[in-house]
Subunit: 196 residues, 2 copies
């Protein structure tokens, strides 16, 4: 069984989007700068990190808001190339796309979503790829094994914070790797569960 | 003339103290963990970073709240060993301590505080050593040349945030160095002023 690993880019001031996120402005104002390391500023090291992520992940979990703002820009085929599970309150039929992605809507909670994603992922990892809310839910519930955090040396000033209203009681992180590229510091943290 | 450089330790979730900061609990609940890299978990590399900081700094600027909660634990001689200027609204006579530190209270604003600190520092740097509020004020005003940020791989959940209510318009950071130790990632950022 693979790991459950979250993966997100965060500004130095703690934001994973700029302000004013909505359909048509999915990363918020200026928020695309968080992903420059994957596009305009990409080095071989950055590219290898992205490749490794796609190679090791067998299914993805995302929140409803991320799906709503991402659906149109991701297009068809979406960039996942693997099953994607959306944790939501709205029941909806599965939505098969091209290139190996089916969007499956899970309405009975994060644990059920994880169970489905694990089954779809087989031996590979399950990726919790955002947004902030679902990531915090998995972290709080003790269901994350690892966090990958790409720290971007910019200040956004406003937007969606990754770490907010989070009671870290019982959650310890162990930094297992840290790689510098011009556009990011790529951290991996093992989530150490004190009950373990 | 030296640089104006801020220096602070921040948790991965963005806090420079734990919750419930007050006299007698200056770093807040669990906030002392932010400074483990300088004490219990100190490596030779961490020690060299601290030594370099003290060697390059000729005068220190701090805020009133940091002075209030720090005064008693710092003791006499205080750990600064150099002139310390406190930006405050309360006028007060200078307070000479042992070991080269005089606490001087500046009531006419951050620019005036900086002018006094520069004069005291001579060729050395002026250090803005906290708290969050005064650091943001110097950053916003375009008066910081460099930020040193020790990112600590812990989650505090609550406390005083370094980056809050900050409009980053016109502030760009250039990461000039990054050093990993077990207890911290030591970043240096040059503050690039767009007007320059």
């Amino acid at each position: 069984m693979g790991k459950v690993t979250s993966e997100i880019s965060m500004s130095l001031d703690g934001f994973i989007t700029g302000p004013n996120v909505r359909v048509g402005n999915g990363m918020g104002d200026d928020g695309d700068r968080l992903h420059d390391w994957m596009f305009d500023a990409k080095t071989e090291t950055d590219a290898a990190i992205v490749d490794e992520k796609y190679a090791s992940t067998g299914a993805v979990l995302i929140g409803k808001r991320m799906f709503d703002v991402g659906f149109e820009p991701w297009g068809d085929p979406p960039p996942f190339g693997m099953p994607v599970f959306i944790v939501t309150h709205e029941a909806r039929e599965p939505l098969p796309m091209q290139g190996g992605t089916t969007y499956t809507f899970v309405t009975d909670g994060i644990e059920s979503g994880l169970e489905l994603a694990r089954a779809a992922a087989g031996d590979k990892d399950v990726g919790v790829w955002g947004g902030a809310n679902i990531m915090r839910q998995y972290l709080k519930a003790g269901l994350l094994d690892e966090m990958q955090l790409h720290l971007i040396p910019i200040l956004l000033g406003d937007g969606i914070r990754l770490f907010e209203d989070l009671d870290p009681e019982g959650i310890e992180l162990r930094r297992t790797s840290s790689i510098e590229t011009p556009g990011a510091t790529h951290f991996r943290f093992e989530v150490v569960k004190s009950s373990a």
